[in-house]
């Protein structure tokens, strides 16, 4: 607050934190750091990329008219290997794709399924959007959090609608959807997650028959339904 101009400002203005020249943004007038290396495509000569990762990314690049489309698949490949999008993995992917790591990082930070901070490799999502929360999803998330507390392998988080509101409240365990999850089955589910077992086999979405009574073999061939 060394700027003399500031003294001329009315009192109430100074109650907001100000930086040089009265700006609210720190460092706004600082010159760009000219000593810093410009963003560069990693040099293949000094970037070691494991053959498997390279093969996966190159196959993805070949699938599209423009190689940039391989950005998300490449980041998923890194995440599968490292558990999250590590700077090292991003650098390797950028080297294969011939783009800057900054570009891939900008993509990774946009998407909820790509983790740019260290986390456990097991991805467990509990949907806490409207339909699920009407069916107890917030309590479910709380219970599961208690059960899995301190487990560093599991990245458990509340998630937006996962497109399975018919089995609310529901959980996605590494992409396997289960629900509706009764609260008293939470310890069992947590145990299965930790042990890497098939989660709640009787409650998996893919095994569920249609709800529509007009579909033969549906859950409710009788429109009154047995649960009514």
């Amino acid at each position: 607050m060394s700027d003399p101009d500031l003294d001329l400002l009315p009192e109430f203005h100074t109650s907001v934190q100000r930086f040089d020249k009265g700006s609210r943004i720190p460092g706004w007038d600082r010159a760009a750091d000219l000593d810093k290396d410009p963003a560069e495509v990693p040099d293949p000569a000094d970037t070691e990329v494991p053959a498997e990762l390279r093969a996966v990314i190159e196959a993805e690049m070949a699938r599209f008219p423009d190689i940039h489309s391989a950005a998300i698949p490449a980041l998923f490949a890194v995440q599968r290997r490292d558990g999250w999008c590590t700077p090292e993995g991003i650098r390797q992917a950028a080297c294969v794709m011939g783009v800057t790591p900054a570009y891939l990082t900008s993509v990774a930070t946009f998407y909820d399924m790509l983790n740019t901070e260290p986390c456990g490799p097991r991805q467990v999502y509990v949907c806490t959007n409207i339909s699920c929360s009407l069916c107890g999803a917030d309590e479910l998330l709380g219970l599961l959090q208690e059960e899995l507390q301190g487990n560093e392998e599991v990245n458990l988080r509340g998630f937006e609608c996962l497109g399975a509101c018919d089995i609310a409240p529901m959980v996605s365990v590494d992409g396997v959807y289960v629900g509706p999850v009764p609260f008293d089955e939470v310890p069992e589910l947590a145990r299965q997650i930790v042990a890497g077992e098939d989660p709640l086999p009787g409650r998996q979405l893919v095994k569920r028959p249609s709800a529509d009574p007009k579909v033969s073999g549906s859950q409710a061939t009788n429109p009154e339904g047995s649960d009514a």
Binding site: I130, S131, P223
Partner: protein
């Protein structure tokens, strides 16, 4: 009720394999389509009256007719992002009958002359994407994809693309940016994707359900399809019913039946002893309706006349045991989390709405805040690049308008709760 179209035999074991699909008449429409000139195909789609099932309800045939002719590379992109809260119909279609969708994409690509097409599926649908991957490989192997399909001279490369978790990638131009390997920020329109879309080429974008309907229209003919449903809302529609109902799930209905029939007869209505407080007729982005509106015909125009919309066809039922303030908070939380941040009214408006609903819940709001919240919604609507901001403003605005008493009561109740807590119960 007309027969099932999209859900016909949907639980038949093995329908996801090409052999069973063909046994039930699959890929016959494709042969029929190849025998038609492109213009006639598009005319069939237009005459069927099929309106987009992804949210906006635009005529599919008309959209296809906007794709320019000529030699430039064209694309068809199937929108399988399905992230609108309450919607889960595309998931069941993909999982149980992936070839129906693939056949629809091939016919649409042939109609507009696209030789490279994509299905963009949300990354969370991992199991469904795996099923689709297998189905695509089968279709390639049996000559339904690739070079010179069934000797027609038409070639198509159809690729699956997995998203990585972002609601905004369901918006068509956000989807295109994501598919091009960027952050999924929507684009300024015009140019519309039909003129300048994926990689700069003309692009037809349609929803999974829209494209899965295409083989049925070709099979039965536009006129017969248009006879199902009501004026300007033809055909059948998958509705996803969820929330406080006894039998949540996807139901295939003829457009124009009463909403009560869907919510009560099909989905079983709210749990015993409970009543419908409000319901979203077309996903969480649609303005809410109340118990007084249950007899409205479930079709595009009737719902629009009632001040809401059919949207994605996702009905969310909220019963009287719930607080509308909590519903508003969930809405605001979702949209502020999913705003891509490109437009100030959307980025700031969703965040401030969330903050203000939060104040109601923690007892620091005053009734005047309701007017401020309503004005924030007014300032979002129509002022952004895409309609994500509107998609929060409309339902939140409708909740405040229709349940103002309850909001005011909650402001007061929460304020008292807070004071009691602060004074250690002295006030109580």
């Amino acid at each position: 009720m007309t027969d099932l179209l999209l859900f016909k035999g949907i639980d038949e074991p093995g329908l996801n394999t090409i052999d069973v699909y063909k046994r039930t008449g699959g890929y016959e429409s494709l042969k029929k389509a190849f025998a038609m000139p492109h213009a006639e195909l598009i005319e069939q789609l237009t005459d069927s009256g099929l309106r987009g099932r992804g949210g906006a309800g635009f005529s599919m045939g008309k959209k296809a007719s906007f794709i320019p002719q000529g030699d430039m590379q064209k694309y068809v992109v199937c929108n399988a992002d399905e992230s609108e809260p309450g919607t889960f119909k595309d998931r069941e279609l993909i999982q149980k009958n992936p070839h129906q969708l693939i056949e629809g994409v091939i016919i649409a690509s042939y109609a507009v002359g696209a030789t490279i097409s994509f299905i963009y599926i949300r990354g969370e649908y991992d199991q469904q994407a795996d099923i689709l991957d297998v189905a695509l490989a089968e279709a390639r192997e049996k000559g339904y994809l690739g070079e010179d399909i069934l000797g027609s001279g038409f070639s198509l490369d159809l690729q699956l693309y997995r998203g990585a978790g972002a609601y905004i990638c369901g918006e068509e131009t956000g989807l295109l940016d994501s598919l091009e390997g960027k952050r999924g920020n929507p684009r300024l329109k015009p140019p519309f994707p039909a003129v300048e879309g994926l990689y700069g080429g003309p692009t037809l974008i349609n929803n999974v359900e829209t494209l899965s309907t295409v083989p049925h229209i070709i099979e039965m003919g536009a006129r017969e399809y248009a006879a199902i449903g009501v004026q300007d809302s033809t055909g059948t529609k998958l509705v996803s019913v969820s929330g406080n109902v006894k039998r949540p799930g996807n139901y295939e209905i003829e457009l124009g039946i009463s909403s009560r029939e869907i919510i009560f007869d099909l989905a079983g209505g709210p749990p015993d002893g409970r009543e419908v407080k409000c319901w979203f007729p077309g996903g969480s982005s649609s303005p809410v309706l109340t118990a007084d509106d249950l007899d409205i015909s479930y079709d595009f125009d009737s719902l629009a006349d009632a001040g809401s919309m059919l949207g994605s066809g996702a009905i969310i039922v909220v019963d009287d045991s719930n607080s509308v303030v909590d519903v508003a908070w969930k809405l605001a939380h979702f949209y502020s989390h999913e705003s891509c941040g490109k437009c100030t009214p959307c980025r700031e408006g969703t965040k401030w709405t969330l903050t203000m609903v939060g104040r109601i819940k923690d007892g620091t709001a005053t009734p005047m805040d309701l007017d401020i919240m309503a004005s924030v919604q007014d300032q979002i609507i129509g002022h952004c690049l895409c309609v994500l901001g509107d998609a929060m403003a409309m339902p939140v605005g409708s909740l405040i308008a229709k349940f103002r008493d309850e909001f005011e009561a909650e402001i007061e109740a929460a304020r008292e709760r807070r004071e009691r807590a602060l004074t250690g119960g002295v006030l109580a």
